[in-house]
């Protein structure tokens, strides 16, 4: 698991819990980082190390994603998906 940069990031640290997981398809991701920039909860950050393409794909920052799916919409490459964990109701 690659380390996340800027752990002490400023911004709303709303606790989204672990309801949503963010999956990044590295075959499609071009490393534009628009998802990181547009995420309203700073739930994404650049990975510490580059992947084999030389890109720094985004990784999930724990406990922050609220499932707004802005990243899914702003990604030009269909590379990021929000998966909602099943709830026990």
């Amino acid at each position: 698991m690659t380390e996340v940069k800027n752990k002490e990031k400023k911004g709303k640290a709303f606790r989204g819990g672990d309801k949503f997981s963010i999956e990044v398809d590295e075959d499609y991701c071009k490393g534009c980082n628009l998802c990181i920039y547009y995420c309203p909860r700073d739930a994404l950050d650049e990975s510490e190390e580059p992947n084999k393409k030389g890109l720094y794909p985004p990784v999930q920052v724990e406990d922050r994603c609220i499932g707004c799916r802005m990243c899914e919409l702003i990604c030009p490459d269909f590379a990021i998906t929000i998966v909602e964990e099943d709830e026990d109701e």
């Binding site: 075959d27 490393g31 628009l34 499932g67 990604c75 030009p76 490459d77 269909f78 998906t81 929000i82």
Partner: protein, 286 residues
């Protein structure tokens, strides 16, 4: 909240709509054309279009590569001529949903003539024109939409020609639905393209989109974030524009003229050509 649960996530959208063998797209990092595809597919999903009865056409250019990524009957035509091909398709089989992806050079340059006539005829189709102010595919030559003063490979001293306003052209030509949005705010184009698909007539949606290579390297756009931000600073919703013109102070009004208006710029109910042709045939058929 319920609505969101029904929406497909990206993985599901990929499964349903994309030609996996063609992915990933050829678009450059940070290019907005991929977003145009994303928003169009979500609008299609919203409208529940039958993909077996849908045809997507395009001309030549970066945006014209879009049909290749969608699992649907596709016609990747010659430069500027997509609207004429689309006319033939729609008139022949009005049951088909016709969508055209085009670009500013493809539609407003070489395709200008077909554009104004397809709009004039109000043919029932949805045209999504990606406007990145440049001929991107061929390396960054000046386009009919390049802002005056901007740099391009064939305008190395700055563009000395005025630029076309594609949406105005569509309106004056007779299009029944005309809207302009940027790729930077997803919901607006998604909802608008859904409306455009719904409209029975010539729907024109102009998408302002950043070209992060051919255009960007010649004009000082800053970082990718700054370039995407610029689109928000440069545009203003048409309703806000009208309000400020009426109620703003002189300084605000002065600044308005530098802005590009976005939003639904024209909307009317108007008989489309297929319906008119149908009436004619009913009248004269033996």
């Amino acid at each position: 909240m319920d609505e969101k649960k029904e929406e497909r996530n990206t993985q599901e959208m990929r499964e349903k709509y994309l030609r996996k063998d063609m992915m990933p797209t050829i678009f450059c990092t940070g290019c907005g054309i991929g977003n145009v595809l994303n928003y169009t597919l979500r609008a299609i999903e919203k409208q529940g279009l039958d993909m077996d009865k849908t045809v997507i056409l395009s001309g030549i250019g970066c945006s014209s590569r879009l049909p290749g990524y969608v699992d649907v009957d596709s016609l990747h035509t010659t430069h500027g001529r997509a609207l004429a091909f689309a006319t033939g398709v729609k008139i022949t089989n009005p049951e088909l949903n016709v969508i055209v992806f085009t670009g500013d050079g493809d539609c407003m340059g070489i395709g200008g003539n077909h554009f104004i006539h397809a709009a004039r005829r109000n043919i029932d189709m949805t045209v999504i024109a990606v406007n990145n102010f440049i001929y991107g595919m061929t390396g960054g030559q000046v386009a009919p939409t390049t802002p005056e003063g901007d740099y391009a490979t064939t305008a190395p001293f700055g563009n000395i020609e005025p630029a076309f306003d594609m949406s105005s052209m569509a309106i004056s030509s007779g299009a029944s639905y005309v809207a302009r949005w940027t790729v930077t705010k997803p919901s607006q184009p998604i909802n608008s393209i859904a409306e455009a698909l719904e409209n029975k007539g010539f729907s024109f949606v102009e998408m302002l989109s950043p070209c992060t290579t051919a255009y960007a390297r010649q004009n000082k756009v800053g970082s990718l974030r700054e370039f995407w931000n610029w689109y928000d600073k440069k545009t203003i919703l048409t309703e806000d524009y009208e309000m400020l013109k009426k109620y703003g102070d002189p300084e605000e009004i002065e600044k308005l003229y530098e802005n590009i208006q976005t939003g639904v710029l024209h909307k009317e109910e108007k008989e489309c050509l297929s319906d008119r042709l149908k009436r004619l045939i009913e009248e004269v058929q033996v």
